[in-house]
Structures are given as structure tokens and as C-alpha cells.
């Protein structure tokens, strides 16, 4: 109980510290701008697709995205796009009932959030080891509680960043697109952003682990971002070998990579809870590896 209390106290303090740094503000801003920019491009593509459908149907083209959303959602073109985003043909029909902007927000989140989480969490311990500010807390609580508290703090920060991004997307959906129900779009953004956030857990864990290994925040960030980028490369290689000669190794690798569970995160209902749980486990495992070093090191 005391342990949990300390974890929450450390997490709260970590969040307060992080949101007061210019680096965090800049990272939040960049994340929101990236989301806004990408959503703008997506709306332009959506608009172009709608006009293409309009021409195929022989009806008038539109000035604003969303005016011909009904026919577009039923078009093969759009379903192929959704298939490309989710990677699972079984889910295309189910997912197609969700506002396209919310689908896009989750897809973008799955792409960006690993780098955001890894990069932001990479300095959470290393920076205080370098300045030795960590000593004030290390005197008063266990090292495990310190690491877990900072990890939880980073997850909260990632959730806040995801929330900010969702608000940006919702705002764009309301102002630059017609036919969106404010409540429906908000609901789906919350649900899908939540799913995308669960995908950040292993990468935040990777960042915290890197942060435990070195007293240099810059080096920790390089390690965390490098490992995140590397995981995507390994994922691509494993996918390439899937079903081939090395399928056993490929399958095993995919089980151990968060990306291997990516498609299942799109599952409707409660189907996404299993991959979310796996992501949480992988995150905890990464933190555990970092903690093994942190527990034994001089502070």
C-alpha cells in the first residue's frame, strides 16, 4: 500500500515537473502540429476521393470534405484505404462505420506515439541522475517505486499528449469537414486514441529503461529512439519472412514485438484488450530490464 502510494506520489511529481519544461511544451506542440498537419492532408485526400466518387456517380463535386461521405464509405477505394491502415481485411467493414477522421487519428497515433513516448520518457531518470536531484527522492522511497513512479508519470504525459492531439483532430473535424456529429466524433476519438495510447506503453518502457542505463539524457534519448526505430525494422523483416522458411522465428519475433499486436488493436468490442495487455506486459518487461541496472548502480 505504501509502495503504491509512493509510486503515485512520484508519478504526480514527475508530471508536474515535465509539463513545466520547455522541452515538454515543445514536444506537445510538435505533436499537436504533426497531428493537425497530417489531419489536414488526410482531409484533402478525403476531399479528393469524394470528388472522384462524385464524378463516378455523375453528381456535382463538393467544396468541403464530408459532403459525400456516405457513398465514399461504401466505395471500394475507401475500403482499400482502410485495409491499408488497419492491415486486417476482417475489420474493414466494422471499422468503416467509424468516422474516417477518428480512424485516421488512431492510425497516425500508432505511427507517432512510439517515438513520442520513447523520446519523452528517455530523460525521466537520466536527467536527475546527472544532476543528482534523484537523491532527494531516493532517500525517501525504494528505487523500484522511483522507476515505476516515473514510468507511470510518463504514461500520463503520453495520455495528455494523445488527448491534446485528439482535441486538435476533433477541432479540425468540426471546422473543416461537414457531416460529423460532434459527440460521435468525440466518442470515437476517445476510444481510438485510448487504443493508440495503449500501444505507447512498451515504448515508454523502453525510454524509461534507457533512462536507467545512463546519466546522459541525450544518450538515453538516442538509445530509446534508436531501439524504437529498430523495432519497426525488425517488425518489417519479420513480416517479410512470415509464412516462409523462417516462419517460426518470424512468428516468435512478432509475438515479442508490440507491432506484432498492432492489427489486433483495431479489433472492435473488447478484442483490443488482449493486445493492450500484451503491450503493458512488454512495457513492464522493458522497465524491469532498466530497473535491474538502476537497482545496482551508484546514484
Amino acid at each position: 500500500m505504501t509502495s503504491l502510494r509512493d509510486i503515485l506520489l512520484v508519478a504526480r511529481f514527475e508530471v508536474l515537473r515535465a509539463i513545466r519544461t520547455w522541452r515538454a511544451v515543445a514536444l506537445f506542440l510538435l505533436y499537436a502540429i504533426a497531428y493537425g498537419g497530417a489531419a489536414y492532408v488526410f482531409l484533402a485526400i478525403l476531399h479528393a476521393l469524394e470528388n472522384q466518387v462524385a464524378r463516378q456517380l455523375g453528381v456535382a463535386t463538393t467544396d468541403t470534405p464530408g459532403a459525400l461521405l456516405g457513398p465514399l464509405l461504401k466505395s471500394e477505394m475507401f475500403q482499400e484505404m482502410v485495409l491499408g491502415m488497419t492491415g486486417n481485411p476482417r475489420l474493414v467493414e466494422e471499422v468503416a462505420v467509424i468516422p474516417p477522421l477518428a480512424i485516421f487519428a488512431m492510425w497516425l497515433g500508432l505511427l507517432l506515439i512510439p517515438f513520442f513516448a520513447a523520446s519523452a520518457s528517455a530523460e525521466c531518470i537520466s536527467i536527475d541522475m546527472a544532476s543528482r536531484a534523484l537523491r532527494f527522492e531516493a532517500l525517501r522511497t525504494g528505487r523500484l517505486e522511483l522507476v515505476l513512479g516515473r514510468f507511470v508519470g510518463q504514461l500520463v504525459l503520453t495520455a495528455v499528449a494523445s488527448g491534446v492531439a485528439a482535441v486538435v483532430v476533433w477541432g479540425m473535424g468540426m471546422t473543416m469537414m461537414v457531416g460529423n456529429s460532434p459527440l460521435q466524433l468525440a466518442y470515437w476519438l476517445v476510444v481510438l486514441t485510448g487504443k493508440a495510447w495503449s500501444f505507447s506503453i512498451p515504448f515508454a518502457g523502453l525510454g524509461v529503461a534507457a533512462s536507467c542505463l545512463t546519466t546522459s539524457p541525450a544518450w538515453a534519448r538516442v538509445m530509446a529512439i534508436g531501439a524504437t526505430a529498430g523495432s519497426w525494422v525488425v517488425y518489417a523483416v519479420a513480416r517479410y519472412f512470415e509464412g516462409g522458411t523462417y516462419t517460426i522465428f518470424a512468428d516468435l519475433t512478432l509475438q515479442l514485438l508490440p507491432q506484432g499486436w498492432l492489427r489486433m488493436l483495431w479489433e472492435p468490442g473488447f478484442g483490443w484488450l488482449l493486445p493492450a495487455l500484451v503491450c503493458a506486459t512488454l512495457g513492464a518487461a522493458a522497465v524491469g530490464l532498466g530497473f535491474a541496472r538502476f537497482a545496482a548502480r551508484d546514484l
Binding site: L9, F13, T21, E137, A138, L139, T141, G142, D298, L299
Partner: protein, 311 residues
């Protein structure tokens, strides 16, 4: 309170690679004392504090920290306060936020932590800056916040590594008064290069050099305040007359200073009346009288003797 010492080191070793920081350091600090922890740069003072605080693991030797064989954050929660020498404060918070957070981590409830933070901020005279960002505080103010963190919750054992560093004379005086006020209630271990200052408010002293103990004991024992008097005289006193007037006492002249060594249990106040009378009778003037040799001189003589012994 028990008679068991607050802090015991017995043959503790710690190395950083090939460099030995502690080479069998041993000492025992009585509970309730204000202990000066003295040594030159690199003597092992900060390493000693870091070992007690669990920041560093010793390579060998045994410890007794408030009855525990090693640092344990759970067993020592709220019982041990430490001012690390070179640790920076998290400067994105205000002193109040930081101290409330640390107080809560020590196990205090939210309200108690707020009250305690207020008390400590007043103690280190930072009540008016308690809601300023630490980043906006001067070095001395940050140092006082850090000192305050060590005193949070009135822990049984407080280690202060160079607490006066960066403080102006007024701030140092008020901090000294605050520390003196807890004499007998808490055990304070204070490391400082200012030996005159330590001599003024410490009652116990541990002197270390090269990771080993040179000497430890009460300030009176170490400085010889109960057995040694230095008389800075004008003229040549008759040592024979003094020996005759005070049998058992030894008088010697060293560099124009007359040293009086009294036998154990001697009443130095009574003997000083006799010395002044004898000096007056032989027409010798008096510039200054000092009890004991002073911590600084004792330390320097011990350190020099130690370096002469070590090849």
C-alpha cells in the same frame, strides 16, 4: 532515546575503480550529539554520507545506521535526513511543492507535510519565497531549501554535507542557531571546512583523511579544552615559578606561546588565577589566552603526522 550510537562505521571500504575513497573507515557517533565531520577535500566525507544514504554501496565493512545494518528506505523513512553536497534541486517546482512532496514520501499525510514544509521554510528563512520557482532562487536560497529538506519531519539522524556553503554570515548564523536548537533531540552530523564554526556548535567530532579516521571524540577531548591552555605572553615567564605554584602542571614555551598542560581532573579556572598572579609577579604581560589547541590546529597536526607516517 537509547544509549546505542546513532551511526557506526566499522572498517568500511569503498573504491571508485582504482581510487580508494574509504580505507577501513571506523567511527561511532553518539545519539543526540552534534557531530562535526572533518577532513580535507577528497578525505571521504561525501562518500561516507553517500554510503549512509544508500546512494553508494560499500565494498566491505559493517554499518549501523540507527540500529540497521544497511540503508533501508522503508525502515529509515522519516528517520534519516540528508543534505547531499552536490545534488541539484528539481528547479521546476517551488520550495513548498518540493518539500511537501518529500515530506509525503517520508510518510507524512498531506496536511502534516504542508505544515512541516511551512515550519522548515520558516526555519531556513525562506517563508517569503516559498512559492517562487526554485529556478529563480539564488544559490544560497537553493542551499537553504536543500537544508530544509534534510530537516523535514525532524528525523532522528541528519547528515549535512557543507550546509553553510554559499550562505552569507547572517544566514549561516541563523542556520547554526537552528541546528543548535535540536541538540539532544536529534543527531546531527555536519561536514564543513570551517573548523572554527564547527568548534563553536559541535559537541563531538570525527576527523578523517584519506578514507581513514584520524581521531574522534568529544570536542573537549579532541581539542584538549579540559587539559590544555595556551598563554600568548609578552616577555619571558619563569617556568620554574609556575611549576612550583602549580605542582602536576607542565609549562613549556613554543614559538613565544606558553603551553600549560594540566593533569586529569584539574580545575583550569582555579589554576588560571594562579598563572596570572605568577606572570604578574615576574612582570610578564598577557596578550591572549586560549583553552585547548583549537580544532583546526589539532586537525592540521594530526593530518601532518598521518602523512609523515604514510609512505
Amino acid at each position: 532515546m537509547t544509549d546505542r550510537p546513532a551511526l557506526v562505521f566499522d572498517g568500511v571500504h569503498k573504491s571508485y575503480g582504482r581510487s580508494k575513497a574509504l580505507s577501513g573507515l571506523s567511527f561511532s557517533i553518539p545519539r543526540g550529539s552534534i557531530c562535526g565531520f572533518v577532513g580535507p577535500n577528497g578525505a571521504g566525507k561525501t562518500t561516507t554520507f553517500s554510503v549512509v544514504s544508500g546512494f553508494l554501496a560499500p565494498d566491505a565493512g559493517t554499518l549501523d545506521i540507527l540500529g540497521l545494518p544497511a540503508f533501508d528506505p522503508w525502515a529509515l523513512k522519516g528517520r534519516l535526513g540528508v543534505l547531499p553536497q552536490d545534488a541539484e534541486l528539481s528547479d521546476r517546482h517551488t520550495p513548498r511543492e518540493l518539500l511537501v512532496h518529500l515530506g509525503r514520501l517520508q510518510g507524512l499525510a498531506a496536511r502534516a507535510a504542508r505544515t512541516e514544509a511551512e515550519r522548515v521554510l520558516a526555519l531556513v528563512r525562506l517563508g517569503d519565497r516559498s512559492d517562487s520557482r526554485i529556478a529563480s532562487l539564488s544559490h544560497g536560497m537553493r542551499r537553504r531549501v536543500a537544508v530544509g529538506s534534510a530537516l523535514l519531519g525532524s528525523p532522528e539522524l541528519v547528515l549535512l554535507d557543507e550546509p553553510m556553503a554559499g550562505l552569507d554570515p547572517l544566514q549561516a548564523k541563523s542556520l547554526r542557531e537552528a541546528l543548535t536548537a535540536v541538540r539532544g533531540l536529534q543527531t546531527l552530523v555536519v561536514s564543513s571546512h570551517n573548523l572554527d564554526e564547527l568548534e563553536r556548535f559541535c559537541d563531538y567530532v570525527v576527523m578523517i583523511d584519506k578514507g581513514r579516521t584520524l581521531r574522534e571524540g568529544t570536542v573537549h577531548e579532541v581539542t584538549g579544552q579540559s587539559a590544555l591552555v595556551e598563554w600568548d605572553v609578552v616577555g619571558a615567564p619563569s617556568l620554574e615559578a609556575l611549576h612550583a605554584a602549580l605542582p602536576g602542571h607542565t609549562f613549556a614555551m613554543v614559538d613565544g606561546v606558553m603551553t600549560q598542560s594540566a593533569p586529569e581532573g584539574a580545575d583550569l579556572d582555579a589554576s588560571s588565577i594562579v598563572v596570572v598572579r605568577v606572570l604578574g609577579e615576574s612582570g610578564v604581560g598577557l596578550r591572549e589566552v586560549r583553552r585547548g589547541v583549537g580544532l583546526e590546529r589539532r586537525f592540521l597536526s594530526d593530518a601532518l603526522a598521518e602523512s609523515a607516517d604514510v609512505p
